[in-house]
């Protein structure tokens, strides 16, 4: 029985390579090989990154006789990477598996179901631990008993990561089951993870330097607040009592976790906390016009989906953050900007480059490029209503522009101030970005009408993988790049203001042509999309 369960779990794990869950079909052999290759490349690059970190720490700490501290830090990193890497998969494997009810209805003791799933979680965690711990061991180059201990510690650390991910996964299951606004929570959590990732990525070098500079005091403090990590370090350097103590403590925690989960599994798998049920209380609703209703509907669609928000709204976030950053750091960047300007020649071209940079970021927000496909099987609602298709499309276009215009204008103004542009230049820069937004909203919509996909089962497909989104993203970038080259060439004869006007006129002209297409052909396509 256990063998059959493990086999099922392993085949499910393997299906990540052979089955495309977003498209709901089996990958072709080529796609499977490609996916596996991509995975290998990703593994290799992360492995190399951790080799570099290990190399930066190993030598200096060994010289000071602080080998144990090296293993403590690498152990801590192993736990961190393991937990961050697999907390969500542990959550979905243990608590959100789709076959819970099917398996529980069969004559299988819940403890066996748990055992099979724990094994899979352990294997996934082992992958992350290998990624960090193995480079640490290789770089240190120990031999004899310490090497044996370090190999055993790989599995001990994996068990510890499993304990931590089981606990955090349980916490996540508890929180998400009681939350009413899951989208907000998902977006917040995703942004926190992205923020943490970038913070560590940019700060890693200074963190390593600070550890190496203050290694003695760091070692002393770790003996206090990080007692288990101190023991881990000692165990990895060959201390038998520390090895026995650390292993036994970790094993005890692992067994305790398994025992608790086994006892409470049935409750965990079948519990349905749906949060507090909102009860409708009648209140007077204001009547709105059809255009306002359509606009509100599109906005609601955008903010209700974490996938849509994070993928099609990431540019807005970047623009807002960049506007603040540029505003604060502008004085420091002035000498560099002046150097660039003088290298470019006598004529000012920086305003055009600045506006194009904003357009470049705007291209990342493909709100309209997914909006038609996102109607999916609900497209009948709009098609059966007495509202012209062009008004529906107009609402989709407006939402794209409305969402982007404020962060884009803020960033453009901040850049304008930073490069010392005059008021007219700043105004023209903002006008150019607005014209670009008009163009990109229509371009994305047009692409989506030409290549719609209403048959998706997972909304991530039209949002992330659709051809319209790709065309919209790369098309926008391509146009920005072409205009950059053109502006640099023309800057020898034309001033920045004229260049900005030319760019504005170009975007406006193309947009007008697309508006015409949208009214006739676009509306006709939308009316009969099935």
């Amino acid at each position: 029985m256990l063998k059959a369960l493990i086999k099922k779990e392993l085949s499910q794990l393997w299906s990540v390579y052979t089955f495309d869950s977003k498209k709901g079909k089996r990958r072709s052999t080529g796609a499977t090989i490609g996916f596996a290759l991509l995975f290998l490349i990703m593994f290799a690059s992360l492995f190399v990154m951790f080799v570099n970190i290990a190399m930066a720490l190993s030598g200096p700490l060994s010289e000071q006789g602080l080998d144990w501290l090296y293993f403590s830090i690498m152990g801590l990193l192993t736990l961190g990477v393991g937990v961050i890497g697999s907390v969500f998969t542990t959550f979905s494997t243990l608590y959100k598996a789709k076959d819970n009810e099917l398996l529980l209805a069969m004559p299988i003791p819940p403890s066996r179901i748990l055992l099979a799933r724990m094994l899979i979680v352990f294997l996934m965690n082992l992958f992350f631990c290998v990624l960090v711990w193995v480079p640490a061991v290789i770089v240190h180059g120990s031999t004899g008993l310490p090497l044996v201990f370090q190999i055993i510690l790989l599995f001990v650390l994996t068990a510890l990561v499993t304990v931590l991910t089981c606990f955090l996964g349980w916490l996540l299951a508890l929180i998400t089951s009681r939350l009413n606004n899951k989208t907000f929570f998902t977006v917040l959590l995703s942004l926190l993870f992205i923020g943490l990732y970038y913070f560590l990525y940019f700060k890693m070098d200074s963190i390593l330097k600070s550890i190496l500079l203050n290694s003695s005091s760091f070692a002393e403090s770790i003996k206090g607040w990080g007692y288990p990590m101190w023991q881990l370090g000692l165990a990895a350097t060959g201390s038998v009592p520390s090895m026995i103590g650390f292993t036994l403590a970790s094993a005890a925690l692992f067994v305790l976790t398994c025992a608790i989960l086994s006892r409470t599994l049935l409750n965990l798998l079948t519990a349905k906390h749906t949060g507090k049920k909102a009860v409708y209380r009648e209140k007077r609703e204001k009547q709105a016009g059809a255009d306002a209703a359509l606009l509100r509907k599109e906005l609601r669609r955008f903010v209700s989906s974490a996938t849509y928000l994070l993928n099609s709204g990431f540019g807005m976030l970047i623009m807002t953050a960049a506007a603040v950053f540029v505003f604060i750091k502008a004085p420091a960047a002035k000498p560099l900007l002046e150097k660039i300007e003088s290298a470019l020649g006598q004529i000012r071209v920086l305003p055009v480059i600045g506006a194009l940079a904003v357009c470049f970021i705007c291209s990342m927000d493909c709100v309209s490029a997914a909006s038609v496909s996102l109607e999916g099987k609900q497209i009948w609602v709009l098609q059966s209503m007495p509202v012209e298709a062009e008004r529906v499309l107009r609402a989709k276009k407006r939402v794209h522009i409305l969402l982007n215009i404020i962060p884009a204008a803020l960033l453009t103004a901040a850049i304008g101030v930073a490069i010392g542009a005059d008021a007219i230049e700043i105004m023209l820069m903002i006008l150019m970005v607005a014209a670009f937004l008009w163009f990109s909203s229509l371009f994305g919509l047009m692409m989506n009408l030409i290549k719609p996909n209403l048959e998706w089962t997972n909304e991530a497909v039209p949002i992330k993988q659709g051809m319209p989104v790709m065309f919209s993203l790369f098309g926008g970038w391509l146009i920005c790049a072409a205009l950059l080259v053109l502006s640099l060439v023309l800057s020898a004869v034309l001033g920045s203001k004229i260049l900005l006007v030319i760019c504005c006129a170009l975007f406006a002209l193309i947009s007008l042509l697309m508006e015409r297409w949208m009214k006739r052909r676009g509306a006709e396509i939308f009316r009969h999309l099935t």
Partner: protein, 234 residues
């Protein structure tokens, strides 16, 4: 109310509806019967203006669907076989969205939402997101939204699927009410007993072609609708 003349719709090589003509008068509940894939949904979607016919003409209240689809849609309401509604909205937001599109005033919409919400026992759940609704609840919401703007013609595809017995009964009464007020109902169904008891007229479609239509008596005579249908299907 609904006049379909020589409707033909093809999907590639397959002719889904072939030269179909139907005339639905005010006050009539018109049942549309046929096996799976016979062309019922295609006919209904063409009548609503979602599908573009390859040939033929459809008129709603004397207005051509081809020439002025928006004006036609103002007169009718449509409920598909699987009412996939906006899961990201709550029930009440959806109803308000529909009311805004049809230009239903605040007072009238409040009164109708209260009336039909209570009839289908859905009022307390209107604050819930539609994604949390069961199939039956979605069907009830789709029915309420269809009745919200007091349409003259209601086109429904398998409207009784997923409804509990009480809601089914309520819907039948509401259908009769619409017709008594001079409106018309055109709906497809597989439940022949319902069609037999409820419909004034019935049409049977097979492989895209209309094989029999008329009043219930004309179609079934002394037999049951089921035996006539099975006989025609052979």
């Amino acid at each position: 109310m609904l006049n379909i003349q020589h409707l033909t719709k093809r999907f590639g090589d397959k002719t889904a509806v072939d030269d179909l003509s139907l005339h639905i008068l005010p006050g009539e509940i018109y049942g549309f019967i046929g096996h799976n894939g016979a062309g019922k949904t295609t006919t209904l979607k063409s009548a609503v203006g979602i599908l573009k016919p390859d040939a033929g003409e459809i008129e709603v209240c004397g207005i051509s669907v081809r020439n002025d689809p928006t004006a036609c849609k103002r007169q009718l309401a449509y409920i598909p076989d699987d009412p996939d509604l906006y899961g990201f909205m709550t029930g009440i937001k959806y109803l308000n969205f529909v009311a805004d599109i049809y230009g239903v005033s605040s007072e009238v919409r409040a009164e109708r939402i209260r009336k039909y919400g209570d009839l289908f026992e859905l009022t307390p759940d209107l604050a819930q997101p539609i994604s949390a609704y069961s199939h039956g609840m979605k069907q009830k919401l789709a029915i309420i939204s269809a009745w919200l703007h007091d349409p003259k013609l209601i086109i429904m595809d398998e409207p009784f699927v997923g409804l509990d017995p009480k809601a089914s009964h309520t819907l039948k009464l509401m259908m009769r009410e619409v017709c008594d007020a001079g409106g018309a109902i055109f709906f497809s169904t597989h439940v022949l007993e319902v069609a037999e008891k409820l419909c004034d007229k019935v049409a049977i479609i097979k492989e895209g072609r209309l094989i029999r239509s008329g009043t219930m008596e004309e179609v079934k005579g002394d037999s049951s609708l089921e035996s006539v249908f099975l006989e025609l299907e052979e």
